[in-house]
């Protein structure tokens, strides 16, 4: 930097240009997201194996999830992805006011999602469907048109149903934890935006949080059909 030419105050000394800096932060974020794919992937693979092993138990268990809440939350999360994408676009255009407005909209939608999740968890708690010593399940095959097979007659059928709920709580719980972290990141972004720390050439934190948020949306895009839509016909 001894040449004396002017460069952005946001340019860290180990980068040649803002473009290189921008691409590096994107690449780093994508590497983190690839790692996140593996983190959630382990759970998805385990889910796939047990669903393959106990298809009837998973079908019966999934029948107790409320498809309306699940679909509603999917829509809410897609809306929040849109508002987040618009927040990033506002950052690209340097519109500070809109960045904050769209971030607040995203946070409100995230709050709705987590609220619905709370209603669902409470309902499962009241119906003794939380895995543990008080787990109780009485099969009602007529309701779910699941054929009575060797598996449904298995003495530990309730245990297999409980397994589905273990997956349900761990996977949706980890997903919800990611959303709470996202909420924290958005509060941080709003503070930074209010302090005028973003400009059209530096808005990497907004963009990277956006990538994170869309990733969380994608996880739910898979969780919804896998958990709620197992055996609905």
């Amino acid at each position: 930097m001894a040449e004396g030419h002017s460069h952005s105050p946001h340019l860290a000394h180990h980068f040649d240009s803002m473009e290189q800096q921008r691409e590096s932060s994107s690449l780093g974020m994508w590497l983190f997201l690839a790692q996140e794919v593996m983190f959630f992937g382990g759970m998805f693979v385990a889910y796939a194996m047990y669903r393959f092993k106990y298809p009837e138990a998973f079908a019966v268990a999934s029948g107790h999830l409320n498809i309306g809440w699940g679909a509603f939350n999917t829509a809410v999360l897609i809306c929040s992805s849109l508002t987040m994408a618009l927040a990033v676009r506002s950052a690209q255009l340097g519109d500070k006011k809109k960045i904050i407005q769209f971030l607040i909209a995203t946070m409100l939608l995230a709050g709705v999602f987590l609220g619905v999740k709370g209603i669902e968890y409470t309902d499962k708690y009241h119906h003794h469907l939380v895995p543990g010593p008080s787990f109780e399940y009485t099969p009602d095959f007529d309701k779910y048109t699941v054929p009575v097979t060797a598996e449904t007659a298995h003495p530990n059928f309730t245990g297999h149903v409980q397994l589905f709920y273990s997956f349900y709580f761990v996977m949706t719980g980890m997903h919800a934890l990611h959303m709470v972290i996202g909420l924290g990141l958005m509060i941080w972004l709003i503070v930074k935006a209010k302090r005028n720390q973003f400009s059209t050439e530096y808005y990497a934190p907004v963009e990277m949080t956006g990538l994170y948020w869309h990733f969380v949306d994608i996880v739910w895009i898979y969780l919804f059909p896998l958990l709620y839509l197992v055996w609905r016909h």
Partner: protein
């Protein structure tokens, strides 16, 4: 990135179209789940979810307008997931194919 190294700014129309497609596909995935397609129910559900994930990655996450290395990283994450799934399924499905001796 454009030729001048400036980030691509998508028009609003792109975001609203992607949003509309995602909402429509959510409706379709619920609707189709109520038909008995046998083993194809899960296949259709996963295909729709994957298509939704694909448009989110391309347009909301800007991979379409990013350097190739970003697309490569995104694809690598997906391929590694498929590897994990494929090897686990191969192990799970092939157990009992060979006669087993007594465990040590």
């Amino acid at each position: 990135m454009s030729e001048h190294g400036q980030p691509h700014i998508s028009p609003l129309k792109t975001y609203y179209s992607v949003f509309g497609a995602l909402m429509a596909l959510t409706f379709v995935t619920v609707w189709v789940a109520f038909f008995d397609l046998g083993a194809f129910n899960i296949l259709v559900a996963i295909s729709i979810a994957s298509f939704k994930a694909y448009v989110v990655v391309l347009y909301f996450m800007h991979v379409k307008y990013s350097p190739k290395i970003i697309g490569l990283t995104a694809t690598a994450g997906f391929i590694w997931l498929l590897l994990m799934l494929a090897l686990t399924v191969a192990d799970f499905a092939s157990r009992g194919w060979l006669p087993q001796g007594q465990p040590w």
